[in-house]
Each structure stands twice: as C-alpha cells, then as structure tokens.
Amino acid sequence: MEVRNLSKRFGDVQAVDDISFEVFGGECFGLLGPNGAGKSTTIKMMIALLNSDEGEVVIAGHPLSREPMRVRESIGYVPQMLSVDGVLTGYENLLIFGKLYGLRQAVREERIWEILKLIGLEEVAQRQVKTYSGGMIRRLEIGQAILHRPKVLFLDEPTVGLDPVARKAVWEHLETLRSHYRMTVLLTTHYMEEAEALCARIAIMNQGSIAALGTVQQLRDAMGNPAASMDDIFAYFAGDAENERGGIRDVTRSRRTARRLG
C-alpha cells in the first residue's frame, strides 16, 4: 500500500497535509495521533469514502483514482462507529456481507463458520447482535470485514469504548486473523499500548502531518531515549495539547460508539 502526497482541507483547516508513507505486505501498520490529528480523514481517503484534494493511494497494485472497484474488492473496513445491524443475528450479518461480495453459497457458508470459530462467536451466531457485548460486536465487525479475504484490512479506532479485557480479546483475535489470512492491516488508534501491541511500524500524526514514522525502537532512537515509554513517544511527537483539534463531532462519535458497545 502506498500513499503519496495526500492532502485534504476542510474550510480553513488543513486536515491532512501532504502525507506520504508505505505499508508493506503482511504488515500491521498503525496511525497514531491525538484527536483531530487527521487519522480518520486519512483512512477515509484511502478507502474512497472521502475525496482527497491532492495525492494518490495505491492498494494491492491498484491506483484508487483509476481502479476504485478493484480496490474495493481488495479491502475490508471496520469503521469506528458500529457497522453491523443489531436486529440481525451474527450469522445473518455475515451472510449479507458474503452475498454483497459475491461469495457462492457453499464457499460463503464455509467461510462464515470458519470466521465465527476464529473470532469465538460460533456459539452465539444465531443470537441478535444487540445482545452481544461490546467486544463481541467488534469481533463480529472484524470477521465481517474479512469474509471476502481482503488483501488489506482498515480499522478505524477498533477498540474505542471497550474495557481492557475486551480490548485484549480483540487484539488477540485480530492477530490470529491477520496471521491466519496473511493480511496487511492498517489501523488508527490513540491508544499507545494498542499500537505497541499490534503494530510493526507506527506513523504518529499531528495536525495533519506525519510527525514520526518507524518501529517503536526507531522512534525511541529518534527521541534519543532508548528506554522511552509509548506515552513518552506520543507526547514527544504529538503532545501539543494547546493545538489539539477534533471538535464536537469527534467527541460525539466516540461517545456514541462507547455507549453502544456498552
């Protein structure tokens, strides 16, 4: 995956400012940053939910601007807000997605149950999703997004609103799925421990730009402090609280998601 000179402006605010980076095949890559840093805007441009002002994205060899359908076939997306229908069962949600992605019945059924087993929801598949816990909902959303075996999986704040136990369970299942299906993963987060636990490399965004990019050790070396904690790294590269962006919409979205995940 390659991002080249991506930019987006909303009125007077330069939400994403000429960023470029590369994600290697099979890697789990993190976009870290405070609220309003431009993480969600970046991910939405990468999956064509938002038009960029400038720049190009290439996913699995397909330029997004010229081959959007090929890109869509290659990606899965788990948004920050809920993307499953609560009144449907876990199985029904996966069934619909399998149909949307053109999976034939036999293949679809096999994959649905394979994924339900991998994400630990086999026993509750016939229950309505609204009866699931927050962590179970999140695991279902991840399972739904990878049903068609995408080459790249995008996750936007995958564990926001979850308690530490549920968060850890999501991490474990995500890592299982990633290594099982050899997917490339890009996730946005503002949880330092999540980025450290899951990501081979991290880009720290601040005010629309990439302030730092590398492995955790490389970031520590860039700070000149080989023993720096993730909090230290975050604060060093993105800890300008006075210029924190992200307004009521970000807060509303996070709180709504947290509330629905219980």
Partner: protein, 245 residues
Amino acid sequence: MRGLLAVYRREMLLMQKKIGKLGYVFSSVMFPVIYLFAFGLGLGSRVEVSGGYVPFLAKGIISLTVMLNAFQQTSLSVSAGRLYQRTFQTIILSPVPALQIAGGIALAGMTRGLLVGGLIYGVAWLAFGVPALSGAAVTGLCLSAFCFAAFGIAVGLVIGDADEISLVNNFIITPMIFFCGSFFPMQNLPEALRAVLAVLPLSIANNLLRLEAWTIQAAGGAAVLAAMGCGFLWWGVRGLKQYDE
C-alpha cells in the same frame, strides 16, 4: 444482479425483524385505516363523487399509503444507515455498483409500499366492499411505489440530520397527501393550483388508480410516472457515486 439482490435481501431481513414492533406497524397501517374509517363513515354519504365517495376515498388512501411507506422505507434506511450507523458506508464500499445498491434499496421500498397498500385495500374491501383495482390502477400503484422509493433514496443521501427529513415531510409529502386528489377530487380546486398539482407524482398515481381501463391518457400518465421514478433513481445513483464524507 447479485449485488441488487444482496442489498434487497438485507433490507427485507431488517424489515422482517421490525414487523413485530407495535410502533412500526402502527405508523404503517393504522393511520391510513383511521383516515379511511373517519372520512369514509363521517363524510361518505354527504360527498357526491362519481362512483361513490367511499371507493374514491379508499383508492386515494391506498395511493398515499403506498407513497408514504415506499418513501419512508428508503429515506430512513439510507439516512439512518449513513448518519447514525456505518452500515451504509460498508455497503457502498463493497464492489456492488451504485445502480444495484440503489435498485436493491428501491425494490425494498416498493415492496413495503405495495404490501401495506395491499393491506389497506384488504381493509377497504372487507369494510366497504371497494371493488377490485384495474390493470391501470395496479400499474399506477407500482410506478408510484417505484417513484417515491427512488425519491427516498435521493433524500436520504442529501439530508444532514433528522430535522431535515421533517422538512421534506412537511413541505413536500404532506401537501401532496392533502392536495393531490387523495381525499377529494382535484376539480374542486382553483384552476391555477390544479395545473401545478396535476404534474406531481401522487396526482398522476391517483388518476391512474381511478381508471377502470387503459386509455391513451393512462398510458401517458404511466410513462410520466415511470420517467419521474427513473429521474429520482438517477439522482440517487449519482449521489451514491459521488458520496463523500
């Protein structure tokens, strides 16, 4: 077509789960039934209309029921899925073409509109002996369902919040309900107003609904209604293709 059917299947599954809820049933069925009985019993023998007021009224109420349910199904599905959940975004990110997504949602709107319209017809037939609908009438209902389902998709894509859908209901849907020949013949209205109302889709649907057989006029009305529906669908597909958060 597989994408269209997948989207349609999802909409129908969701509808099926909601059918047991009292509020959902009440809003879909009870209000038209109340109108039918209130005006039918209260005014029936006092209003002179060719063929009788009750059959006239019943067809008007069936027509507005189809309109309301088709429009509500699609406008709420798209707007709620877009604004309050992210199910809509995950569907448009799938490799299903925009036309098939719009088609699946519109088909679900038509299904709900025609099902509820059929229920109201059943009530009217049982309670008031309203005669069977002609081929032109059934065609008019189907085209009206398509037209307003497609309109609902386009509206669902442009509104910013729930208040804006109220604006559409208050300034477009509700005036059509009361002025487009559902409750009284449009001939009773001033000519200038009649000329404006005559081109609205509900007026055309009501005219078709009250025809006993196909005529050239009916064919023309059906063609106009179909064209309106295709126009709204094109607007919705364009909105899907240009969707930008």
